[in-house]
Symmetry: C2
Subunit: 418 residues, 2 copies
Amino acid sequence: MPGTPTIGPAGAQGVREANLGTVLRTIRAAAPCSRAEIAAATGLTKSTVSSIVADLAARRLVREVGAPAERRVGRPGVGLALDERSIAAVGLEVNVDYLTVVAVDLLEGVLLSRHAAFDARSAGPEACAERITGLLAHTVADPLLRSRTVLGASVAVPGLVDAPSGVVTNAPNLRWTGFPLRERIAGLMARAGLPAMPLHVDNDANLGVIAEYRGGHLAGTPDLVYITGEVGVGAGILTGGALLRGSSGYTGEIGHVPLLRGGPRCGCGRRGCLEALAGVEAVLRHAVPDLMPDGPLSGAGLSRAVDAAVARAEAGDPAVRRALRRAGTWLGRGAAALVNVIDPAAVILGGYFVPLAPWLGPPCAAAVAAHSLAPDRPGRVQTSGLGLTAAARGGASALVDALDRGRLPLPERAPAPP
Amino acid sequence: MPGTPTIGPAGAQGVREANLGTVLRTIRAAAPCSRAEIAAATGLTKSTVSSIVADLAARRLVREVGAPAERRVGRPGVGLALDERSIAAVGLEVNVDYLTVVAVDLLEGVLLSRHAAFDARSAGPEACAERITGLLAHTVADPLLRSRTVLGASVAVPGLVDAPSGVVTNAPNLRWTGFPLRERIAGLMARAGLPAMPLHVDNDANLGVIAEYRGGHLAGTPDLVYITGEVGVGAGILTGGALLRGSSGYTGEIGHVPLLRGGPRCGCGRRGCLEALAGVEAVLRHAVPDLMPDGPLSGAGLSRAVDAAVARAEAGDPAVRRALRRAGTWLGRGAAALVNVIDPAAVILGGYFVPLAPWLGPPCAAAVAAHSLAPDRPGRVQTSGLGLTAAARGGASALVDALDRGRLPLPERAPAPP
DNA sequence: TGGATTAGTTTGGTTATTGGACGAACACAG
DNA sequence: CTGTGTTCGTCCAATAACCAAACTAATCCA
């Protein structure tokens, strides 16, 4: 059964939008390809495809490339491909201990990527918004982006976000509540005389799973779960190719599922939460206790501690390996709850879990297999290939995704030179 | 982010379909209403609404009723309402110990409802298919349905179902595996010389949540979970108004989430599963041990035992109340896992949990509140008002829902007499 | 050089929505 | 009881988009 029927009247422009998206996606998948091939693949007629391709070319999203090398009988088709020189999309991520920016082109190739240690917790939300705005301004001014149309920017935040309004409802690890991040960034940009652009704010796990869906090893798998391994543990859930948002935004909040009665105390006040057992900070406190301060970590501390834990685990340190194994098992138990409810094709471990995955992954996979009902499926637990840029890339990808759905907020322009 | 873009070309008939659905749903919600009111409510123009209403009237789904009593200045509109005399949809449910049929009209009013004790487990799948076919044939031949167009029939099964093919992949409590139920029913109907009709097979919890979405107290709430309380425990999950199906159909399989290490042995071979702690059969073994046989229950045994447990609980029997309280707490823990992942607006307890709800519901709600992260929401745990007919009604509703989406597999007919 | 084949464009036709004009039906005021 | 104003529903021409088929273009091959 499909979703709730769309409200509002349907009209011809909706049809056009759908078909623009279909053709764009087909070219993305099959480039270089001819109009005739697109017609065959989509079921549209050749005339419709010609009309749509003309439209896309006028917006510089598609261009003609040389005829395909393959030589067959009959008139050769002219190859079409996405024009990756025309647009850009920016994704940012703010997290407890770092700030990331990524800009991608229409092919979702990375144009530019910056990662910097940053103590968002002590900076506070207002200073953070300023820092983000500065980074965004700097990014769009980069020579690599200057000649492109910027589709917009998206900001990933580790916490509960009301995506439509761009308000960060509650981000415990940043200690933000009810902060109107989008509004702030838009205000700061206007004050600095920068051109307005679409701004989106969303949860980091939600954007992480979008990144995996569009660019990870499992790209295109419509039922995916992405688990962030930052200070907090959260899950982004994609079902049927769409984000699960729930009735109030609390989907995938597995960081605080109770796993062990009377277990270690968690930041949320309860005991035995997944985050207190398998969150990166908790893992490191067991694995490399000598490197962890008594108070909260700040700046690049977490990253350094992860590196140290990896080095020791590689060297065969039994205490570190034991700590990672136990954390992996708890993580698997938490993930199993999710697998039993959602039945995803795969669970992808992201963030700081990626470098730790050689030791954390196998026990996690074993625990998922042991505690889930569905028959065991090899490769159900995977490691992200996107590292700490996943959320930022996902934000940028989400902007590109709007084009793939036929929503082209782009003016017609003179056709691109060959 | 909306779901995966629909594949295939979009065309004018898709627009018509969407708008037919929009108008039909508007009339359902606002009847009796005039064409002008529909135009205002939907954003379509008056001419389009006229055209669509004519189409719906030709298919006898809508009829003109007397002008509305409300008197205002200007020409009065002619009232439109759904014509409930024209079609019918049939829903059946086969479960371990009973068989249910329900037929509804376009307003989803119940035309006919039968519930019979039936030992599906010992009858076996083939005999069951014969029995279902017989019941269906008897139902469509009923004088109440004879004059109507039957949209189709849907069968709810407690187990894993591949809905597109109508094959029951695995129904442990019925002991069916890989049984092609739809194909069998279609074959038996053809052999009996009955007219073919669309047949659907789906999981009972999935259809239960559809019934709640369309006809329960929480009708229209797009993020709902329905928990069946039959011999097994399963959840049907609706998110954004659409069923969650997962990558291989194992969504909502909460019956076997492990809750208590070393707990009671479960039918699945493991220990401490939710079903072994809070499944109806397990509950009754604790609550009314004297009424439960050592072997498996058969026929109407379960229903009688539930009645007895209710009677004793009402009389204040402390052992029964204690057993129900404990089961409710376990159920709440299992439901909390679901709430933390899905964030539904409500969790609805169905099946045999309904009569037991006065004692089982409050501890269940308390456990959900205690173990879920999102702020407590009163009324998060609800009791179904549909009793044991939920799944059958949901199947029938799903057929009506196709009309509400504009898919009208109905021939044009002479307009209905006033 | 001409036939076969495939690509892309052009032209005409279909479906469905839109928007404005118009007649119909009623209330109200004089 | 008659005119005026208001709202309802329909009719008709215009528009947008897709489709089907004819047509031109480009290439291979005999």
